[in-house]
Symmetry: C2
Subunit: 445 residues, 2 copies
């Protein structure tokens, strides 16, 4: 240990580092130093002993270190409805099962407990930040803080009353209150989250647009998910939802449009020119038979495309590795080109593209000096990931969530050799059992 | 223990049993008894202590017991080329990378070692039987026996010479020799495996047809994988491959057609009427940009559709849970119907449909008295599989290969609480390292 060594909290020495920025790069025998919440150095591992004095030095043989995944669209609390109703057409699924269950059960406690379960699942699978659209954001945020994961919470608005709020003004007021209450929390950020073109009026969209501008918040909204949504919009507004958004002035770099399954070339150009982001949720689009998003086309127009798992009721997993693999596979077949969406680009979508959509790309999404230390380690020594000719390909096509061994969020080691540092698993198990019984009792009656 | 208790080897007491036959059934609090290689009883667990005397009694709380997966199409030895070349168009992938690598490295030892790696991966993920198409079947068979997995080996034939054989007669002779040598092995079965319509001549297909009839072997062949294959066939033979197979008399219940991506309604009816099986390999079809198989249509015509991972060079995993989930998701979007291919039907495809394609449905593929004990246990107690409202849905949509904890093949417990009973992992690790070095050295030179 040298006298002039820099004092750091953590020194991580993996076999490989994928920084994401610069792109398409795999660094061999590099280490990362963390001080407080930040990455303070990326350097050859041979410098560790001479240049750094670390409280905690972690050698991770056969591991790759990369930025944590940014799950850019989910409804975390709905994890309590995982597998509640499957293999059903969208409208029957919603009207006969999901909406009745939500109106029966959704409460502050349900959202807290469901979000906690979701956070644990996401962390175990390497997600360090999620973009949530649901109700009771204060309680979702408290669960995220308890789990130690970064959360971007929606100030969610729909035109209709539910257990959470009475009308659009009430949704806005409650969402903004939650934002004020969680203002000083380092893990919490917010978006304006109008649910969708078919559940929010022009008047409400206009108010949301004003608030998003004033408060510098992204606008997180479902868009062009199904053909029906577009047909209904044509009937009601005389235009397709993206054209309606254009008229309302909603297309901008702040727009985070989720799904974009049915999107034509003109609409792609429009979103590209306005610098809007798209969140691709392939599992949900397949499971609900919504269709195939033309991701290759979007990427060729340089649209920022991120990845989301959607909620566990329509996936049924919050597994960013599975979701990103599916995105990479599907993009090729939809395009008819096997070179579309190669492994490195898929890794970018699952990390930095998500951060950019959420306006957080100066803080997270890549391993760069000065950025927050949201990091994951993936073990490539297992039978399923051998032999290893190409680290990026191995992560995207061969690895699974079970190969994620260590996770840091904001500099904290939240998952250590696959275990949570605190007793969160027991808490979750108890709370989930409670809700399972509640829901099953109601269903049987 | 009662005096008149039946002596059995193993008694497994899971929380749930999915027998596959009868279909759509989940048995709660049932146990399975195994004697020698066979299932001898399926009964309520409350009868265990009075009716049975077991050498080994295994209680598996929160687990579902089901038949092992039948991976109905793979090239096991190619696992040594996992991630060797990705994100490339099919012909460049084959001509510039895979074929040169194969002609450099493929040997009896390569096939043995690669197949051993594949077997370990498959067993850990719940596959108890695989249908292989590759070279050196004797050595592939020896690896399967070592690993303790059931294998159906191809008597593979292509028109051209390679490291293994000189011409079609040589392929046939060597394959039939391997069959004679492995004749008494309980884990080994064979198929005739002409590679594809574009690599096998009419004359050779005719010989294969004769042999398949005489020896009562299925015919395992790639069919209608890409548009190019069909266009080339039209040029060379004046008909599409399935029509050519019809002329050659190859369409029958013995035909196991792999891929069937580009298949029209007439061809679907033809295969349905002849009772031929189709093996669906969705990951490979997406990754090589081959296209989308109309699985919903095939199922509505009652074609027997099984699931295959294809080889690890084009997937890059031999993960039947991931493959079956993808099949279930994709079938819905291709059909435009969320109710297409529900969870129970997907489980059937991954098990009994594979057994039927291989002519083994009287022996494996379901949990029935008298059948061979090829069984797997899946743990549904984890965060990722909670809450649990529907066991079948949970397996297909939420569980992963990492949730498979115990595997029995032919009555032997091959995987015990996630560990192999013998030191096979070390052997594989050494052999895989050896080949990785060989391949990387050659690539760098």
């Amino acid at each position: 240990m040298a006298n002039n060594a820099v004092e750091v909290d953590t020194l991580i020495e993996p076999s490989w580092v994928i920084p994401i920025n610069p792109s398409n790069k795999v660094l061999t025998n590099f280490s990362i130093a963390i001080k407080d919440s930040k990455i303070v150095s990326i350097h050859p591992s041979c410098d560790n002993s001479t240049r750094f004095n670390a409280l905690d030095q972690i050698k991770l043989d056969d591991h790759v270190l990369m930025p944590g995944f940014v799950n850019t669209h989910t409804h975390a609390a709905m994890t309590l409805l995982r597998g509640y109703a499957d293999d059903l057409p969208l409208m029957r699924w919603l009207s006969d099962h999901i909406w009745p269950a939500e109106s029966e059960f959704v409460s502050a406690k349900f959202v807290h407990d469901g979000t906690l379960l979701a956070c644990a699942e996401m962390l175990r699978g390497g997600t360090t930040c999620f973009n949530d659209m649901y109700f009771f954001p204060l309680h979702a945020g408290q669960a995220a803080i308890k789990a130690g994961i970064r959360a971007v919470l929606g100030i969610t608005v729909i035109e209709f009353p539910n257990n959470y709020a009475a009308d659009p003004q009430d949704y806005l007021r409650k969402g903004l209150e939650a934002r004020d209450l969680l203002n000083s929390e380092p893990l919490i950020n917010f978006t304006m989250s109008p649910h969708s073109p078919y559940t929010v009026s022009d008047k409400t969209f206009e108010q949301i647009s004003v608030l998003a501008n004033q408060l510098h918040l992204p606008i997180h909204v479902h868009i062009h998910e199904t053909k029906t949504e577009i047909e209904d919009s044509l009937k009601q507004y005389g235009k397709r939802p993206i054209a309606r958004f254009d008229t309302l002035g909603l297309l901008s770099p702040s727009l985070v449009g989720v799904h974009a399954v049915h999107i034509d070339d003109v609409e792609i150009s429009l979103m590209a020119n306005q610098g809007s982001s798209v969140v691709h949720c392939p599992s949900s689009n397949l499971k609900l038979a919504s269709g195939f998003s033309p991701i290759g086309k979007l990427l060729r127009k340089n649209i920022n495309v991120a990845i989301g798992t959607d909620g566990a009721a329509s996936n049924n997993r919050l597994d960013m590795l599975a979701e990103t693999r599916l995105a990479a596979l599907m993009a090729k077949a939809v395009d008819g080109l096997a070179e579309t969406l190669p492994a490195h680009q898929a890794l970018h979508m699952a990390t930095l593209a998500g951060a950019r959509a959420l306006g957080l790309d100066d803080q997270i999404g890549s391993i760069e000096k000065g950025k927050l230390a949201d990091l994951i380690a993936i073990d490539l020594s297992q039978i399923e990931t051998q032999p290893n000719f190409d680290v990026a390909s191995q992560i995207i096509y061969a690895a699974g969530r079970e190969n994620v061994t260590n996770v840091w969020v904001n500099g904290e080691r939240v998952l250590k050799n696959k275990f949570f540092k605190n007793a969160i698993s027991d808490t979750i198990s108890q709370k989930t059992s409670f809700w399972t019984t509640q829901i099953l009792n109601k269903r049987t009656n």
